[in-house]
Assembly symmetry: C2
Homo-oligomer: 317 residues x 2
């Protein structure tokens, strides 16, 4: 397929770099301030070289990319809350032209799922969003396979940064501030870690899963959120004495309630994955519990989910 890629961060870049390996062609690409369109196929290496040297991917802009002749728009700009702009507008523009959209940006699916479905209903294009929940882990595809009606609950470790910090606190007996600084040095936590450590990123993923399981109706405001910043190192030490540990668990329960909170678990519990790993656990009506774990973030990992979604789309007419 011909892809237009919006966003030139780690995910957008990896999608553009891996597209050829999936027999797709990038015909347009934009970062936040510039864009490039080439109907014959964008020279991806040259474009990113130019971005590294000159700070722009080309002489055009986002509107040029949105107007290009593509089959599928990959929306990988940063997640924004509330009206989820400008991401939502990008998706809207593609659907109005009956083009497919694959999202890595969580905003439109977490914050405006119902609006999104209205736009999809009026379009010949489809929208997919595997990459928005737990990176490379096929959470959405597995829910689709089982059937959303037959998944009674979902829970998991949905944020690798928070999980890395909790794992290190428990393993080394260190406090939150110390481990956060270490995670920032390693590039596992951002300079402003609020989204990850306060549970907001995990809560957005919960809202997305809740929307899939319950046919819409959820946004960040519907998720009860508690992060990990208030957990003292001593709590993890006490837990360890009892062969337990603490993980930040996102959950959509049997009643459809969505929440993110630290939870005490047996050390050998399936949910107690370590480091930056993510895990998604699904309770099903006829097939018991399914566990899916792997890398929940990273450019190539998330791009793998994006490109799997592209392959699941109907071929253009």
């Amino acid at each position: 397929m011909k892809l237009a890629v919006l966003g030139a961060g780690a995910v957008g870049r990896s999608v553009a770099e891996l597209a050829a390996d999936y027999d797709h062609e990038v015909v347009a690409l934009a970062d936040s301030s510039s864009g490039v369109v080439d109907a014959g196929g964008v020279d991806v290496d040259a474009v990113f070289e130019r971005k590294d040297d000159e700070g722009v991917v080309g002489d055009g802009d986002v509107d040029d990319v949105l107007a290009a002749d593509y089959d599928c728009l990959v929306e990988a700009t940063p997640t924004t809350l509330d009206d989820a702009q400008p991401g939502f507008g990008h998706v809207e523009a593609a659907l109005e032209r009956d083009r497919h959209v694959v999202l890595a940006n969580k905003g439109p699916v977490a914050e405006r799922y119902d609006d999104l479905r209205d736009r999809v209903a009026a379009s010949a294009g489809e929208v997919r969003f595997e990459a928005t929940v737990a990176g490379a882990i096929p959470a959405i595809a597995t829910i689709e396979g089982v059937g959303a009606d037959r998944v009674t609950a979902a829970r998991g470790v949905l944020n690798g940064t928070a999980n890395f910090i909790l794992t290190r606190m428990a393993a080394e007996g260190l406090n939150y501030e110390h481990v956060l600084a270490e995670a920032q040095d390693l590039g596992v936590a951002e300079a402003d870690p609020t989204f990850d450590v306060e549970g907001i990123d995990a809560a957005l993923k919960c809202a997305i899963v809740a929307n899939v399981l319950h046919d819409g109706g959820y946004s960040l405001d519907d998720v009860d959120v508690r992060g990990i910043t208030a957990i003292p190192g001593s709590a993890l030490e006490l837990a360890a004495e009892d062969s337990r540990t603490v993980r930040l668990i996102g959950e959509v329960d049997e009643d459809g309630d969505a929440r993110v909170a630290p939870r005490l678990l047996p050390e050998n519990d399936t949910l107690a994955v370590t480091g930056t790993q993510n895990l998604v656990q699904l309770e099903t009506t006829h097939a018991g519990r399914l566990n899916l774990s792997g890398r929940g973030a990273g450019g190539p990992e998330t791009a793998t989910a994006v490109l799997a979604d592209v392959d699941r789309l109907a071929d253009p007419e």
Copy 2:
């Protein structure tokens, strides 16, 4: 879709019972000696009541079922080796009529994959077989999503009976014969447990995964197989002293070599699932390692995989 179900064991029965919940209709059904066809929809409860009372599902036979007007044949008769008959013939008959086939029977995909592909190439029907590897776990769908070319190796715990026995031996310090008898009492092991404990069932699954990853060429003969019957209880005790345990691991490695053998693992290794759980671990080119675990056997669990496959098929013309 209109389904014809061959096989009235735990899996065939569950497929027939759950089909309506997936908005499919069973129009024909056979066990090993009898068959029933009803273009208006088979009364599934009545048919199984008759089977329980009279030992037959109807007054017809398998040929009547194969000749019925169905969209998809579900082949859930017992797995056979070598020529994989009669299962292979059933699949062949459906494909010759341009009908879809979903397999729970491992024989045709493990033993005659290349023959099967020839038949598929000449048909408008498709063949799917998620249920043949690790029951409810979406192993094949996940490989398809990542792309077989981008999965460099696969390994896992592919037989719940063997895993149950090893778990109990380690937990209770009991020997193989003792635990086998217990497993047989619980219905976890069959009266003749050879297929499970000698690693043959796991090896068939390895052959299937190897065929998917390497575009055919494998059968049971290509898998190096060692089972668990020769493991002394003392070996598990020694392993436990070193915080290790033993699991029967099936593997298709980076060189395309397929094998099943007991392996020493750290007790907390992701592969060391307990009881009758199965786990499939995929190594991918761009997305690291993915782990999928859940119930690897059971009627409703395997039927869930069968019916997910049915939903992945193209709608009939």
